[in-house]
């Protein structure tokens, strides 16, 4: 009730302003409706992760379109019901600039000015963790965008935030055995790490699990985030006496560092491993470099062969945008779907009620098969796809960069709850 009353007031006041400005007589504004729900979308439109943010935004917009029309994957999940509990979804998109401060500022505007029922987005862990705090402080639900650090659902976890991307622990535990099987157990690895939560978290987890397989970590080179010229770092890496280059860099930084690594001859000397491959990484470095590279992708359109919902998602996305979806689009779409489903189950859009339902862990079938949230840390239990870069001649289509080697079930790689460091604050 509170939410609809709030949105009524907002809409009325907004309409009043607009009508007054356009010279309409005041009494006409009674048509304002309380049959809409506002959600705030925070996308990295600028900055180092803007390409990833672009697909995030596309995923959200398709999800809301499908939700309001009762079509696509939404139609299947919600049985053709339109909107959420009879209300149409309205939204605004804000640019986070791939920085925590603007992200928090815009999220706060969505909460205070637009009376958002929920907000969602972010591509960098730094932004996502900051927005998680905003969600907790304002007691408004936040469905995270992309974020790969363990901290997001670990020491920085919040009751009002739910993360769908696999965390660093899941990625590393799933990837390390495959690396050992394919590349051998006696590898000497050097790491390039962006200097913030995501980078350190993924590097630490990768080291832990590859060392269990028998690998040696010979060096770790830490670069500030963002960086454009990696020459000094790569010179150190080239001289590190390693045979495997584990690149943790992401987004534009991942592309720049890898291309420069090729120029410095690093990729000739060493096998490249990219544990968490960003949305347009392969396009940026090109298929010549991508071929033979091991890593994980949170999702790929290739999964449409395994999951029926993925097929529907790929088809409707391709129809709308003319290109196949990347993994940030999948995260965006599915986060909206999970939220909408939880609202129906809770028969409420109030954040506290929705959180209660999400914590019950009902599996919901989406583009990654059945997924659900773990109550203790709000990490999604979901599979981790392990991929190998295709050689250019093996590609079918210009975005067909990866072969899926294995899809590791989520349950088998979840971090034990007592090790996450997460203590959820009360509702």
């Amino acid at each position: 009730m509170t939410d609809s009353r709030r949105s009524f007031l907002t809409t009325s006041l907004g309409a009043a302003g607009a009508l007054a400005a356009s010279g309409f007589p005041f009494p006409r504004l009674t048509l304002a409706a309380d049959d809409t729900l506002f959600i705030g979308l925070l996308c990295d439109q600028t900055g180092s992760y803007s390409a990833d943010g672009g697909d995030l935004q596309k995923g959200y917009e398709l999800a809301i379109e499908d939700l309001n029309a009762g079509t696509g994957v939404m139609g299947k999940v919600l049985g053709g019901k339109k909107g959420v509990l009879g209300k149409k979804i309205t939204y605004k998109i804000a640019d986070t600039q791939t920085k925590p401060d603007p992200a928090v500022q815009r999220a706060t505007e969505f909460i205070t000015q637009d009376k958002a029922s929920m907000f969602t987005g972010g591509v960098s862990t730094a932004e996502v963790i900051a927005m998680e705090k905003t969600a907790q402080q304002n007691k408004v639900l936040f469905m995270t965008g992309a974020s790969g650090s363990n901290d997001t659902t670990g020491k920085d976890c919040q009751r009002y935030a739910f993360r769908s991307q696999c965390d660093a622990y899941m990625v590393s535990k799933a990837l390390a055995p495959v690396l050992a099987a394919k590349l051998g157990k006696k590898r000497r690895a050097v790491y390039l790490v962006p200097d913030y939560s995501y980078g350190h978290s993924l590097a630490d987890s990768m080291k832990e699990f590859t060392e269990k397989e028998g690998w040696t970590t010979v060096a770790q080179v830490v670069a500030p985030f963002p960086t454009s010229d990696y020459s000094s770092y790569l010179t150190n890496i080239a001289n590190a006496n390693a045979d495997t280059f584990v690149n943790i860099e992401f987004g534009n930084d991942g592309v720049s560092s890898t291309k420069q690594a090729a120029q410095f001859g690093v990729l000739k000397k060493m096998q490249l491993v990219v544990p968490n491959i960003s949305t347009y990484f392969a396009d940026g470095v090109g298929a010549d470099i991508m071929g033979g590279v091991y890593g994980t992708l949170p999702w790929s359109f290739r999964l449409q062969d395994r999951y029926p919902m993925a097929k529907i998602f790929v088809d409707s996305f391709t129809k709308k945008y003319g290109s196949r979806p990347r993994w940030t689009a999948q995260i965006a779409y599915d986060q909206i779907a999970i939220w909408a489903d939880a609202c129906y189950r809770a028969k409420s859009v109030a954040s506290a009620d929705v959180i209660k339902v999400l914590e019950e862990g009902h599996p919901i079938e989406l583009s990654l098969g059945k997924v659900y949230y773990r109550a203790g840390d709000h990490q999604q239990v979901r599979p981790v796809p392990i991929v190998l870069g295709k050689k250019p001649e093996a590609m079918q289509g210009k975005d067909d960069f990866f072969e899926i080697l294995e899809v590791v079930p989520g349950e088998s790689v979840m971090q034990p709850l007592n090790l996450t460091g997460c203590t959820l604050p009360p509702v």
Partner: protein, 290 residues
Amino acid sequence: MDLHLVAAQLLNGVALGAILALVALGLTIVFGLLGFVNFAHGAIFTSGAYGGWVVYTKTGSFVLGVATALATAFVLGIVIERLLIRSYYNRPPEDQILVTFGLAIVIVETIRAIFTGQTQTFETPSWGNGVVNVAGIFYPQYRLEVIAVVAVTLLAIYLLIYKTRIGLIVRAGIDDPLVVNLLGINVRRTFMFVFAMGAALAGLAGVFDSPLLAVNPDMGTDVLVQSFVVIVIGGVGSFGGAIVGGLIAGEIISLATAFIPDYSQALLYVAMALVLILRPQGLFGVVGRS
């Protein structure tokens, strides 16, 4: 400490410094002659990179790409000078900073609207592929070629400024624009040419830097900040200052990054602060130039 590693890092510093010198030279010429602070210089750098990238990927000719980058930046320089910058020559520096800052946002966002924020692949030209053995150091061939190209460009600009009539006017204009104007020389057209030439240098740096970094709308940001530091270190309006300042900045960034990474971000600015305290006019600057 491994001597080869130090030598390789020194080479990195030269390569980085060469690009910075090229960007800073354009900036310092415009600032020196026109007294104009151009915060859009980084955006022009980016526009050159994109112009070069479009033509290079379409035609496969790096030379055509470079020509396009030069042309893009030069024409962009003329257009913004005529439409916007001209009205700001006699306004206070804060107005100039605001208007060029806004202009930079418009240019960068236009690029983003056309090409998306995605990082574009700018292939190293075929003659730049490979690693060269320089006295036991294995170093990317293309970076060595960039150093050579920048050296030749700087020489050409030097000859233009110090050995030609237009250069004479430019230098006279730097010293005293009023007198040059009184002598009946069309200072406005000279100003426009100088502004466009500064822009072209940024565009050239952009296209040569592209295979080294990556082409994306935000690529000019770091370069702009660092080239301002170069000017402060080298001295405003000084040709030699831009080059020496560029090399000093390149070496500081490169060596600090490699050997004391925790301080790498700060050290460049510490150096700048030291110069400002000990020699406020910069290493090659002249006292009292406004």
